[in-house]
């Protein structure tokens, strides 16, 4: 698992502002919710911060992609505290090549991601789209993003979806199309990990064969499992009903477990005890019709996933990436952030 010891070490080296940003993300995506406790029960109150998941999210960001032959590096992640009204976060990049060269390493992305969040927050404030007053004391050492209320933090991330954040002054000029990945990853990963078995490991950084896992912590089932009523990792379940079929079909045979009225034109369906089988039927495709457009053109507006890459042949997209400063995290991490070519 990419939560390697090395990634963990560097996570500990991460500056306090970046760490605060991760706490702020977690706190917005899976918050503590006393209001749900009233409705659904006390087990629904605690959120991601209560199980201490923020550091792990950060470590995952720093170890999700492999990077070969990369020098170790550390980026100081201070975003200028005074956000200027034009909405452009001032960013100071500080480079430090570590003494040790690790031949196998992973791309270190947490600082970049955190800065993109700060830029988004700055943009939200500059537009006056925040609903609540920012409060710099929400998280120790927090930057702009961490100063926002929970709903405003989600609003800031959503500006990244719309590619409406000026990010050209971020390290490596993190461009819009990359920035749009940030909410996808941050939100999806946070949710996926929170609702997984994560809390049950003693130390997830251990090699898989030495990892200790339990379905309870301090005698209670894992927090997210209590909140979803998920029964835990099961070896099986006593849930077999039978096989779907109809008296006319080759599927379903033998005793009937349950019969239905059925609203289709065919015979009413049943759940049978035995399987039956599919029929290796003759077929005729003569009547095939295309219900929808087959021209291959994308919609005028580019459609749902076009983004700024637009309609391009793969080569053009590559050209774009090459000229276009960055929109590649690995490349950026290597050359732009470091200002150096990797020696191989």
């Amino acid at each position: 698992m990419p939560s390697s010891a090395s990634a963990a070490d560097t996570a500990e080296e991460t500056d306090p502002t970046t760490r605060a940003t991760y706490r702020a993300v977690l706190d917005a995506v899976v918050p503590a919710t006393p209001e749900l406790a009233d409705d659904l029960g006390p087990e629904h109150e605690p959120g991601g911060l209560d199980i201490g998941m923020a550091e792990y999210l950060l470590a995952v960001t720093n170890s999700i992609f492999s990077m070969y032959d990369a020098p170790r590096f550390v980026v100081e992640a201070t975003v200028h505290q005074e956000v200027d009204v034009a909405g452009k976060a001032e960013v100071k990049v500080h480079q430090e090549v570590a003494t040790e060269q690790d031949p196998e390493f992973n791309a270190r992305l947490a600082e970049t991601v955190a800065k993109i969040c700060d830029a988004a927050a700055a943009e939200l404030l500059a537009r006056g789209d925040n609903e609540d007053q920012p409060d710099p004391t929400r998280f120790d050492a927090g930057g702009t993003f961490a100063s926002l209320s929970r709903p405003d933090r989600l609003r800031a991330l959503s500006l990244l979806d719309d590619r409406e954040v000026e990010t050209t002054r971020l390290p490596g000029g993190a461009r819009e199309s990359t920035a749009a990945l940030v909410p996808q990853l941050l939100v999806a990963f946070t949710e996926g990990i929170y609702y997984s078995e994560w809390e049950g490991y003693d130390d997830i950084r251990q090699p898989p064969s030495e990892r200790e896992f339990g379905a309870t912590v301090d005698g209670e089932r894992l927090q997210s499992w209590r909140q979803t009523d998920f029964p835990g990792i099961i070896a099986g379940s006593n849930s077999f009903r039978g096989y779907w079929g109809t008296p006319d079909a080759s599927l379903g045979e033998g005793r009937i477990w349950k019969a239905f009225a059925g609203d289709g034109d065919g015979a009413p369906p049943r759940i049978y005890y035995d399987q039956g089988e599919f029929t290796d039927n003759d077929y005729d495709t003569g009547g095939y019709e295309e219900p929808f457009d087959t021209s291959g053109d994308p919609p005028e507006d580019g459609g749902p996933v076009s983004g700024e890459a637009g309609v391009k042949r793969p080569e053009d997209a590559v050209e774009d990436a090459r000229e276009g400063v960055d929109d590649d995290l690995l490349d950026r991490a290597r050359t732009d952030l470091l200002g150096q070519e990797v020696q191989r």
Binding site: S63, F65, F240, W244, V318
Partner: protein, 596 residues
């Protein structure tokens, strides 16, 4: 550099590569199967993600169900990090692919490839997708695949999937919408059916008793282990009805390697390949170059490959009479492009991904009680994907069970239309659309057991703009990394919307009180047609521009086969390709499964 000679070298031991290896080995050819990822469940690699272990394995006695049980814990987070495409070494992250829109490709590394995490659904293509859509060569038809489908279905025990509460719910909705049950293998009409799954059916002991008054009783009291396990209590065979397909499903625990219920290519095919005595598997070997002889005039001829050991970084090359690319739909074109093989405008192009989406229904407990006799739908129970809806020309739908982490990820984590609060679905058939976070997310997830997600799988068509290229200057240890581009057409979007609406109607007619649509960003789980037959390879799947170089993975499919899960078709075509190789270059094709 060492130098080894083989009749055939195959690049990639994923879904399809082992099928070709099995058939070629069976025909008496000496085959080397190179795989970038580790070999799980093999005694030569007791800790496959922690230490390099041995080099090769060719003896089926090396296979160990007990090791697989240890390694495939079915814990979601652990297994996803273990299996997603990346180096064996657990300290290293995934191999990076560039996807400029916010899309992702999901593939796995290791012997078995992406079938290690697949859900075992093995329908055939829609016949019309091959015979009526314009993408396949005229000299190839659905009928050519039939004998190979039959052989693969037989080998992998493909059979109708069982019904648990979640399938019963979906089928009720489909019936209420007026659709009929399909019992065909060759599907030309709209309707619903149980999935044909490459998964052995559950043990009779796991049956829920339904008493005369409709009351249900769950009486099984064992530990779901296999009869050959000394610790088994009330042992069972076949699928144990825990939705662990995506997390590696090694059940039943305690079963010998070959008796695992889910027939991944590692379980269902690799042992057969090894039993031929002619197949050697070399994991942790990432092929970086296809070697060719250009001295012959005319087309260059493939002569072997170069690979890099993912633990030591050492490079080796091997020579062979024929080379088969089966590295999957992203890495096969990447390898071609990075090997400097002759330019062919369609290498990497025309990619289809079944442009997917996720539509999730939520039920009130009393409605469930009335419909399925208990207050929960229980997405953690049953085979992961066991019910489907077919719609030739448009695509398909399938119910998707899962544990809670994957449910959150699939259903709520990512969306092409931003957060729910940025969308107004008043006019739409679904009640909410977009990414969910915050208190709303927790509220929805508190209903995890009363929910049923349906996966939308679109018959998207090949467009030249979509596909894989390499990004020069952006390299990892294996050369320039793949860059993936995907922009659906108007028709693709219409098909997907149509399917999402159909799913919503089915769920509502099944009694769901709330339907949520994710509007997922391009999430490529079924990937095809990046080295398409008729464009890059001929009907024997040999490259037009390089002799003795074949493609035997989903890249060679000329389109997305209409929407059905593609592995049955990919494997059947690979089986056929093996016969074509044996016939064309080795003159050893005896007892052909199909005609040429």
């Amino acid at each position: 550099m060492s130098h080894v000679d083989h009749d055939v070298v195959i690049v990639g031991a994923g879904g399809d590569g082992p099928v070709a290896a099995w058939r070629l080995g069976h025909l008496g050819l000496d085959v080397l199967l190179l795989e970038a990822g580790p070999f799980y469940g093999n005694e030569k690699w007791e800790k496959p993600t922690e230490e390099p272990g041995a080099e090769t394995s060719s003896d089926p006695a090396d296979l160990s169900g007990a090791l697989l049980d240890e390694q495939f814990t079915t814990r979601e987070l652990e297994m996803i990090f273990k299996l997603i495409f990346g180096p064996a070494d657990h300290e290293r992250g995934f191999w990076l692919r560039k996807f400029p829109q916010s899309g992702i490709t999901i593939q796995a590394a290791g012997v078995g490839g992406t079938t290690l995490i697949y859900t075992g659904n093995h329908p055939r293509a829609y016949p019309a997708a091959i015979d009526e859509q314009p993408h396949w060569p005229d000299t190839f038809s659905y009928e050519d695949l039939l004998p190979y489908y039959r052989r693969m279905e037989d080998l992998l025990d493909v059979q109708p999937a069982p019904v648990t509460a979640k399938e019963e719910l979906f089928f009720q909705g489909a019936e209420a919408q007026g659709y009929d049950l399909i019992d065909d293998k060759n599907v030309t009409d709209v309707g619903y059916r149980p999935q044909p799954n490459a998964i052995r059916g559950p043990d009779e002991k796991l049956r829920v008793e339904r008493r005369g008054d409709g009351q249900l009783a769950e009486t099984y009291d064992g530990n779901y282990r296999h009869p050959s396990d000394p610790d088994a209590v009330d042992p069972v065979e076949g699928h144990t009805l825990a939705t662990t397909e995506i997390t590696g499903n090694p059940h039943p625990l305690g079963a010998p390697y070959e008796e695992k219920a889910k027939r991944t290519s590692a379980i269902g095919v690799v042992p057969k390949a090894m039993e031929t005595g002619n197949v050697t598997i070399r994991p942790n070997a990432f092929v970086t170059d296809v070697l060719v002889d250009r001295s012959l005039g005319g087309n260059p001829e493939a002569t072997g490959v170069e690979y890099r050991d993912t633990w030591s970084g050492d490079k080796e090359s091997v020579s062979a009479e024929a080379v088969v690319l089966a590295a999957g739909t992203i890495e096969t074109p990447r390898l071609w492009l990075n090997s400097g093989l002759p330019r062919n405008d369609w290498v990497g192009k025309g990619m289809t991904i079944h442009f997917g989406d996720n539509v999730m229904g939520f039920w009130e407990e009393d409605v469930l009680e009335e419909r399925v006799g208990k207050p929960t739908a229980d997405p953690q129970e049953g085979q992961t994907i066991a019910a489907r809806f077919d719609y030739p020309g448009v695509g398909m739908l399938q119910t998707t069970g899962s544990y809670a982490g994957v449910a959150a990820l699939l259903g709520f984590g990512a969306s092409a239309s931003g957060f729910t609060f940025t969308n107004d679905p008043t006019e739409a058939p679904w009640d909410t659309i977009g990414r969910l976070a915050g208190p709303k997310l927790k509220r929805f997830l508190s209903r995890y057991r009363e929910a049923l997600p349906v996966l939308v799988v679109t018959d998207d068509r090949p467009h030249e703009r979509n596909g894989v290229s390499v990004a020069p200057g952006i390299e990892d240890e294996h050369g320039p990394i793949p860059q993936v581009n995907y922009v659906p057409s108007t028709g693709d979007i219409q098909r997907r919307d149509e399917l999402a609406e159909t799913a919503t109607e089915i769920l509502k007619d099944a009694g769901a009180d709330h339907v949520h649509r994710s509007d997922s960003p391009a999430t490529a789980i079924h990937i095809h047609s990046t080295m398409a037959m008729g464009k890059v390879v001929d009907t024997a799947c040999e490259a037009y521009d390089v002799d003795r170089l074949f493609v035997a993975d989903h890249s060679a499919l000329a389109n997305g086969v209409g929407g059905p899960n593609p592995t049955n078709t990919g494997q059947s075509l690979a089986l056929r390709t093996a016969e074509r190789i044996a016939d064309r270059y080795f003159d050893c094709l005896s007892d052909p499964i199909g005609s040429s």
